[in-house]
Amino acid sequence: MIKTLIFRTLRDQKITFFYWSLGISLISLLLMAFWPVIESEADLMQQYMDALPEEMLAIFGGASNITTPEGYLNIELMGFIAPIVFMIYSIHLAASFIGGEEEKGTLEIILSLPITRYRFIAGKYISFVIILLIFAIIFGIILMIGSTLFSMGIENLFLFLASINVMVNALVIGSISFFVSAYTGKRNLAMAVGAAWGIGGNILVGLTSLVDSIEPIKYLIPFYYYKGYYQDVGEDVLTHGLALLPILGLIFSAAILFLGSLIIFSRRDIK
């Protein structure tokens, strides 16, 4: 029963998924295609980066050495564009799975069938995770292809782990939308809260590195565990791989939001 729901949900998403995958692949390959140019003008680019205000760098993922392939990819793709694309797709999916169906009215017949609300929510959430995971795998494969094509020489394992990191970060933000969608049944509200949390979290983590008095707040923001943590310990995923603590922290946040969605949806009136 839950398998049927998952297969059908995945099937319903296949066209949208194709376009999103195409989009992230093209963006990634395009940015990576610039690497040979950047490499040949490394000194000039680093001077340019050094001239940027610290505040701007903080918001766009922090300072990195743009003259290395890892640093270039961190600045151009993994620091801002990839998390934003993953975040928007994740929010879009999560908000439409419950709120979208409830607003359209398609939820009513489904819930009149002998499927518990727990199973319904679990089926939708599992579908959401599977879609994001496949999206991340495609992204990881594209990163590996780009790295080889444009002679970046980054380890395939680290590229794959970086795509998993960006996916787990999007999973948490999407889970916030999923929770709001399960709680209110309102798609647009769920999207707005997820987007505000995702973008706000990104900016706030950047600001905490500049303003000492608000620095402890960063530990409460899931986005910190995507990138800020690695900067604090002087590492990055493309060079050192994933650290256990932040990735578990993100997965734990997503799990809590999923459990919250499960409980709240099973106890509220369906509109």
């Binding site: 049927t4 319903d12 359209k104 009215g105 398609t106 017949i109 009149s112 069938l113 499927i115 369906i270």
Partner: protein, 294 residues
């Protein structure tokens, strides 16, 4: 006879708005129960509570002896449901949609589904998005009926159906009743469902104002006789006639409610020049209007 649905002092409020107020009724096994009221009377709220979509603010509802909210999943195994505004994902074809509902139910609809498709003249190969309102309604009806549920809950089932399909719908519902299926059916137009219903509950402003057998209601409805005269007639000539209830004077016409023999009415009319006499059958909608207005 077993009670399939029992509502006891059921109330539902949204903030300060009381949608349903202290409703108590039973639906018995094998009967067709009509739940009739104007738009916004609380019919859909009651139905959605029976389905367990919403939790009663007060009182309780049991279906097959189970709590409609807590045991919704068990109840749904036996219920076929048609919402008032049924929406199926427009991406699907009719067949894909019905197969999907079948697989969630873990059932495989037998020839009965094919029979319904034929009776309602549906083309299951078309996408839902390309279908008219009436044809979408037919697909939704089939999903509710196809697995031969023990209880059918139909919210405004005939809206959007053309008269021929309505006749077929009535025939199928009677056939299911003969098979022992219980039917709870709501409508805001009594005449659309009166032929089907054994008993009728009348709901107004969230309050159940009457539960009667259809026969009792029909007995309350009196036929009228309308007499057209060549000129206006004096009102006192038609007062206090035996067998005649209320008399209404409309210009040169007299409309008399018949409560017994019409002998005195005919004799009173014969004193004037009569152009035409017509008799009007009892109209249940008028009875309902009285309930609504009382």
């Amino acid at each position: 006879m077993d009670q399939i649905i029992q509502t006891r002092n059921f109330s539902k409020s949204y903030g300060e708005n009381l949608a349903v107020d202290d409703v108590t009724f039973d639906v018995l096994q094998g009967e067709i129960f009509g739940y009739i009221g104007p738009n916004g009377a609380g019919k859909s709220t009651t139905i959605r509570s029976i389905l367990g979509f919403i939790r009663p603010s007060k009182g309780n509802i049991t279906v097959f002896g189970l709590d409609s909210y807590k045991d919704a999943n068990l109840i749904h195994e036996k219920i076929g449901y048609l919402p008032s505004d049924p929406i199926i994902d427009p991406k699907y074809t009719g067949r894909e949609a019905l197969d999907y509902f079948d697989s969630i139910r873990q059932t495989k609809s037998d020839q009965f589904r094919d029979y319904l498709v034929e009776v309602f003249d549906c083309d299951l190969s078309l996408r839902i998005s390309t279908l008219s309102r009436g044809n979408r309604q037919k697909i939704s009806l089939i999903q509710a009926l196809m697995f031969r549920p023990q209880l059918l809950v139909l919210d405004e089932p005939t809206s959007g159906l053309d008269p021929l399909v309505q006749l077929e719908f009535n025939r199928v519902i009677k056939q299911l009743k003969d098979d022992g299926i219980t039917v709870f059916i709501s409508s805001h137009v009594l005449s659309e469902v009166e032929e089907l219903c054994d008993r009728i509950g009348v709901v107004r402003d969230g309050v159940l104002v009457a539960v009667e057998t259809t026969k009792t209601l029909k007995d309350q409805a009196k036929p009228n006789i309308k007499i057209e005269f060549s000129e206006k007639v004096p009102e006192d000539a038609f007062s206090n006639l035996k067998g005649i209830g209320e008399v209404i004077f409309e210009g040169k016409n007299v409309v008399a409610e018949i409560t017994g023999d019409i002998d005195q009415l005919v004799k009173a009319a014969s004193a004037f020049t009569v152009k035409k006499i017509t008799s009007t059958e009892p109209n249940l909608d008028e009875i309902f209007l009285r309930y609504y207005e009382s």
